[in-house]
Amino acid sequence: MKALPDFTRRAFLATATGSSVLLANRLFGAPEDAAAKPNPALEKLAAVALAEARKQGATYCDIRINRYRQQFSGYRLSPQRGSNQTDEVPFVTDQQSFGFGVRVIANGQWGFAASPLVTTDEIARITREAVVVAKANSAVQSSPVELAPTKAYIDRWTSPYEKDPFAVPVDEKLELMHGATLTIKKDPKVFAAFGFLAARAEDKYFASSEGSSIQQYIVQVDPALQATAVDFQKNISRTRSYQVQPLSAGWEAVAKANLAENAPRIRAEVLEHLAAPPVMPGKKDLVLLPSHLYLTIHESIGHSTELDRVLGYEANFAGTSFMTTEKMGKFQVGSELMNIFGDRTNEGGLATVKYDDDGVLTTKFPIIEKGVFKHYQTIRDQAHLIGETESRGCCYADSWASVPFQRMPNVWLAPGPREVTPDDLIAGVDDGILIEGEGSYSIDQQRYNFQFGGDAFWEIKGGKKRGMLSRVAYQSKTTDFWRTLDGIAGASYWQQFGSFFDGKGEPEQINAMSHGCSPSRFRQVNVLLTD
């Protein structure tokens, strides 16, 4: 469906789920001398579920034993009540969540059960519960579950990273964020500064009744800075963020982000944003930078090509899609410059993993080729519904306690010719706007009508970037918009922004994926003046 609104993100950060340090540590201890095989202790636990499921008459079973670790740290600098004095408020939280979920097929129907008590007795009990659920539900099934074949894999995989972000001392992290926020707040005209650093690690083990036994470890980091400025006389406020690409990577990605060097820039730009004149609404050309365009790709192309939406499985929540099955292979979504891939193999992507939660080896596949819609995102129990014989590896869940289902891979826009620069794109615009970063974003439940704001807007006049504008949003229809794409910068400008907060499913699950792209130009898009 969509990235979460701010208040949900705050609630998520304030509560989130938690967990264990001990049994989990034994099961998921750091990969020993790059062992290629999963921990035998995990395999022994999994065998309990697989045997119990067979005993209860299930025709398929998989178990996921997972641990999630998250650490949030940072600073908020904001004025005291009725004074210009600044309160410097640090925060630091460690969260762990550990447990298992069992999925079975019995009487042709899925069943699922999960528990945080990782013991052999509880695994057997929960497996029986999953079979009870499946059998009860089989009374109201539309058709029996059919799984596309997959090979059995025995493997262990770790996402590439250089320096474990959890091993970096917390005081070093706080120092970094304190310094950056102090720099932002140095100008007394800046109202507030916020610095945020998240590190996330996922230990996941998967075993299935088809013979797979897979242990994987994923490490991710996400730093960000934000400045806020307020004009009490005009009763307006503006923000300016330094968005950094959130990546499957280690601390090295935080170091490369150059937070300290970017803090003075956003300090100046938030004040420019506060004073910026409102946009003159109308049809304008847009040059969209990767920190902004990623979300447009996510909402308009990422979600519309999810097969579960197209087939009606999300009709009651996230919605369906305009990209109906008869369009596959022939529908012109956008201009011929548009080449979009679904990919869970690209380095750094937040959805990158070697095997999905169906135990399928992940892959890269074309979603849009020269503007024409080619392929959906699929999982094992959907492939046959569109006449395909294998899954595209897009099955995953946000927790051991959640049912794995079709989620978005990294969905990225291929770069343009090597020689094209962002300045070239701007030079070709007579009256337009350059947009960076996330603002408000909203799209309908079939992914036609969208409206996006941004974090910063610059006027383009006569082929030149001018001063900042304010109160900008653009509104369009997915196909109208992508058909106006007439320029994409080269690969050296390609960046991989993404979201940790994409919601879908009932009960709702929150997952992460990336959307790489280069700066791109769109012609004559409807620009609005917001309040």
Partner: protein
């Protein structure tokens, strides 16, 4: 179910391991069962238990650290406390930290239903069947979701505070679509008791909406319209209003309650006198706890009283700076209604649009609370007091503040939930000048 004694033991154990002056322990435990259906059959469903212990430690000089664990063994709890304390020692003093609260007298809430707490597939599946039967009778396709949960919340700290509460909740929502995807209808029910859920009724309402919407849809020009908003739509708008009652944002120029040039709108009559918005944690329709985020006992609080901005949300820190008493968080929201039915609202409207619910709402401007969103699952033209033709969906850019200001009439309130802002008890309303910005082709 985690008993009071078990919860107390976990908290005491954690506090026993604590060496720093302050330690607060929040326990949450929940068991839920859910069934998801689509294309007139069950798709996924499950049963699960989740639990966690959140430990917050504070040093003498106000350095704070937090750790969350989900394995509740002695060793795991001990490690969690050590982790929270290590983080606290490393962190820097928090100038906004407040002293721990001592023992509190929490109100007793009646929102646990044992039938709901024990319910599994055998009592939920008949509701799913009833929805699917309704769909089949009208040659429609149903998708939906039914769930129930039983939850425990417990809290304790080193200063002697302790609270324990159990509550249940349940819901059924369903969407029906025509085979060609030309129309969509939706209905939902929420209650702390699964006994209040009725698949037949929920299925009938969404089927009627879907069938009514299946004719040629009128594409009216965007612009300002009188709208009749059903409770699910009102619930989202009221939720956005509620999120923005914070005193800090209001005083610091960042909310619709901030005044141009400084100051706030507290005490001003911003809305018609029949608009009263309040928090009521004692309403047994809410699945809520006897305490809020501050750990003070939850209480009733009017935010808008007869059109007047009556109170702001003061957390303990901001209240201490303002010399005020802290207030509960603007949760468990109730918008008072009037003695009208939805039919009365329709009859009173010469020309307007009847809107089922909203979708994907996001803030555009905090000071006006202008938000953008879309209509979904049933928009109908009302002419001369009667529902006439189905209409396309729309994107809208509008402020819940202006909607409340432009409200003419309300029905009796009911517990409802939209797409974005949680559950509240709200009426349907009729409001003028609602800004529809563009057509959405989505069905």
């Amino acid at each position: 179910m985690l008993t009071q004694q078990e919860a107390k033991n976990l908290i005491d154990k954690a506090i026993g391991y604590s060496k720093l002056p302050q330690c607060q322990v929040d326990v949450s435990w929940s068991e839920d069962a859910f069934i998801r259906f689509a294309n007139n059959g069950i798709t996924t469903s499950g049963y699960r238990i989740t639990q966690q212990l959140s430990i917050s430690s504070v040093t003498e000089d106000k350095r704070g650290g937090n750790a969350v664990v989900s394995e509740l063994t002695d060793d795991s709890i001990k490690r969690g406390v050590e982790q929270a304390e290590a983080l606290a020692r490393i962190s820097k003093p928090n100038p906004e930290d407040m002293p721990a609260l001592g023992p509190q007298k929490y109100p007793v809430l009646s929102n646990f239903d044992s039938y709901t707490g024990a319910a599994r597939g055998d009592v939920m599946i008949p509701h799913v069947k009833a929805v699917i039967d309704s769909a089949r009778q009208s040659s429609l396709t149903a998708a939906g979701y039914i769930q129930r949960s039983a939850s425990v919340a417990a809290v304790g700290n080193k200063a002697g505070l302790f609270g324990y509460h159990t509550y249940t909740d349940s819901s059924l929502s369903n969407t029906m679509r025509t085979t060609g995807g030309t129309s969509s209808g939706w209905a939902a029910q929420n209650s702390v008791s699964l006994k209040d859920i009725n698949g037949e009724t929920a299925g009938r309402i969404s089927a009627e909406k879907c069938v009514r919407g299946s004719g040629a849809r009128k594409k009216l020009d965007p612009g300002k319209y009188t709208v009749i908003l059903e409770p699910a739509a009102v619930s989202d708008l009221v939720g956005y209003l509620g999120f923005n009652f914070g005193a800090r944002d209001a005083e610091q120029g960042q909310s619709f309650l901030s005044k141009q040039g400084g100051g706030t709108h507290l005490g001003e009559k911003m809305f018609p006198e029949y608009i009263t918005l309040r928090s009521d944690p004692f309403n047994s329709k809410f699945a809520t706890t006897p305490w809020g985020p501050s750990l003070l006992p939850n209480e009733r609080m009017a935010w808008i009283d007869k059109g007047v901005v009556k109170n702001f949300y003061y957390d303990r820190f901001w209240a201490s700076k303002a010399g005020k008493d802290p207030t509960p968080a603007p949760d468990n929201l109730v918008l008072d209604g009037q003695d009208n039915t939805l039919e009365d609202l329709i009859k009173s409207t010469d020309r307007g649009l009847l809107i089922t619910r909203f979708w994907y709402i996001r803030t555009l401007q905090p000071q006006t609370l202008q938000v953008t969103g879309l209509t979904r699952d049933g928009v109908f033209l009302v002419e001369n007091g009667k529902v006439t033709d189905p209409v396309t969906n729309y994107r809208w850019n509008e402020s819940p503040v202006r909607v409340m200001q432009n409200t003419l009439k309300l029905t009796q309130p009911m517990r409802s939930q939209g797409a974005e802002a949680g559950s509240s008890i709200v009426p349907a309303i009729v409001a003028t000048e609602f800004n529809l910005a563009s057509v959405s082709d989505a069905v």
